[in-house]
């Protein structure tokens, strides 16, 4: 009988999900995926996790709690670094250990160490050590990894529908900054992306840009004397923000950050500083935690998009007749 392995649908699953599932399938394990984050899952996570952690980590614990009862093992890779010279976040580096400590009833945890800063070879070797844990040979894991990388890269990116024109939209483009694992999780992000779309604006996320693009805008910031960031997501966000502020290809920026997120507390400060210095785009910062309410976000978002629309009209040559209300819907 094949091993049942639970995969929490949270954190870096949103980036590497297809790869994870394919790898487990190729290794002959039966992968069980937790459902989309919902109220029960988050509540279970809050019960397990420490108060000080950020919302996505708490949600992750909820997914673990959901899976714990029904699987033989949990697949929680230790993501240290996914590119050279940058880390993910200390909390994700210690995630398997945190789960082990906080959820003693959880089944065995399979935690290959993903540390690309030490090179692909070392990471491959660490993933190869999955073999004994899953009851297959290491060479089979290596073959499975190669195959699943192909399969995963073939599966399309950009699930957030970046930059898609909106039917009967108002032509406004909103740049959305936020960690992929927050934006891709509609419950955690309070469905921010769809909300923007429902308000008639087209969202563009920082994840839409390639690594080379990120590096290019990062170099531009460095030329102005800024220190290079050492968090992968932070680099993406800051580079995207810098690009938008420079090119003005979006009309406003919404930054969704989770309360207690270490890197974001710093990145947000830098982005706000850059935005106020260049004063080219309006910026809305939204902090989320387990107490966030949908109505709070809706009103702020509506007001923000109204502002952006009005600003756009004022800047455009074809100004509407004075006194005429601006319809943002």
């Amino acid at each position: 009988m094949s091993l049942t392995v639970g995969v929490p649908r949270a954190l870096l699953f949103h980036e590497y999900g297809p790869l994870m599932l394919e790898l487990l399938r190729q290794c002959g394990a039966r992968a069980v995926l937790s459902p989309l984050t919902n109220k029960q899952i988050l509540q279970a996570g809050l019960d397990l996790c420490v108060d000080e952690a950020c919302l996505p980590v708490k949600a992750f614990f909820g997914h673990v709690a959901y899976l714990a009862e029904q699987v033989d093992a949990l697949f929680i890779p230790r993501f240290v670094s996914i590119e050279r010279g940058a880390y993910i976040c200390p909390k994700l580096m210690g995630l398997p250990d945190m789960v082990r400590a906080r959820a003693p009833s959880a089944p065995r945890i399979v935690d290959p160490c993903i540390d690309m800063s030490r090179g692909l070879g070392k990471t491959m070797r660490s993933i190869g050590e999955l073999g004994p844990a899953l009851g297959v040979s290491s060479s089979r894991v290596a073959v499975a990894l190669t195959r699943s990388r192909k399969v995963a890269s073939a599966s399309t990116r950009g699930r957030l529908g970046d930059g898609e024109p909106i039917a009967n939209g108002n032509g406004i483009r909103i740049g959305v900054l936020g960690h992929d694992y927050n934006l891709n999780d509609a419950y955690i992000s309070l469905d921010l992306i769809s909300k923007i779309r429902r308000l008639g604006a087209a969202p563009v996320t920082a994840g839409a840009y390639s690594r080379q693009e990120t590096a290019r805008w990062e170099r531009q910031l460095a030329e102005r004397g800024a220190k290079r960031l050492f968090w992968t997501y932070g680099r993406r966000l800051l580079a995207a923000a810098s690009r938008w502020l420079d090119t003005g290809e979006v009309d406003g920026i919404v930054h969704l950050m989770s309360f207690g997120c270490g890197p974001e507390s710093f990145i947000a400060e830098v982005i706000q500083h850059e935005a106020s210095e260049r004063s080219s785009l309006p910026l809305l910062c939204v902090n989320i935690d387990e107490h966030s309410a949908e109505a709070g976000l809706s009103t702020r978002l509506e007001a923000f998009i109204d502002t952006v629309a009005m600003r756009k009209c004022e800047h455009a040559s074809d100004l509407p007749a004075p006194g005429q209300p601006v319809d943002t819907r």
Partner: protein
Amino acid sequence: MQVTFPHLGNLWIPVKAFLSSLGHDVITPPPTTKRTLSIGAMHTPDGACLPLKVTMGNFIEAAELGADAILMVGGIGPCRLGYYCELQRRALARAGYSAQLIVVEPPRSGLVQFAGVVRTIRRGAPFRQILQASRLAWAKFQAVDALDQAANTVRWREVSPGRLDACIRRGLALLDAAQTCDDVKDVTRQTLHDVEGCIDDSPHPAVRVGVVGEIYVVMEPAVNMDVCRKLGRLGAQVVQPLMFSSWIESHVVCDIARWIPRPDVMSWSRPYLRHFVGGHGVESVGHSVEMARSGLDGVVHIAPMTCMPEIVAGSILPSVGMAEHIPVISLTVDEHTADVGFDTRLEAFVDLLSARASEEGRFPRDDGLCYNRAQGRWRH
């Protein structure tokens, strides 16, 4: 150029000695107070960790005194400390201070930049002078560590409260004034001798408490509500493994001379935390395990609010406590932390440890007080 640097406990004594020996005009920032904290918090994001706010406050207070160059450490992550310099550079500029930030990055992140910083600090001093300055600074590092350790170890036995601390303060002032390595040695010897005179030699029972956590809040009494002194006054012997000299040995010397074996904290923490998580996460877990195994009665874990490595450590420490049979209390500090909140919690914790120790027959160690659970009070 009037150069300043951030406060961290008694770090200012050796750093000042080093820079002055190289011929720099040094401005020591005023001691960290509530004002420092509130100035720092005003210029930094509210979600940032406490050390950023305190050091920012130090810089502004030093700049008010005329400092125009600030020495700061950099880093390459994943702890936020490595990015402090960028936020501080921006905040200083925005607040209208022209002081220049000199960031000492680890040589790994760029040799050219590192060489530039070394040149700025060196100021053309000959190699002999640098060697002398380093030797004096190293002697002072060891001396302040020795005094701190002595104070933590024996404070619970002091005859009249405050005498020991006055003695240590006097010693630190003399250390600051000491000009040669021999002076430093004499002052240390004399102060340790004076400390002997402040304590009561007759044996008492005492609980032994370890203090672990993020290095800045552990070593800076102004922000940790003086936790080591509080524990000492409550009658606990304090074991605090984080020291400047051991930090320099493990992070600077062993980083350059990689063949020297590092103290293996990881082997202690491995059953609970198997990977480095930045900052002092592994140290907090590893030291706690080691403390439990060496027979300490309890562990106090202090961390700045939202500190990422310490959140990992803090999540794991309760299970360390269960598995290694040692009570652990986690305390979080930020600019709103109040003294009294710490008083009550530490008092309750030390009471619990004493009760536990006497119940398990570890009390009385020789004679003196012992806790009677049935009567709920201490008796001889």
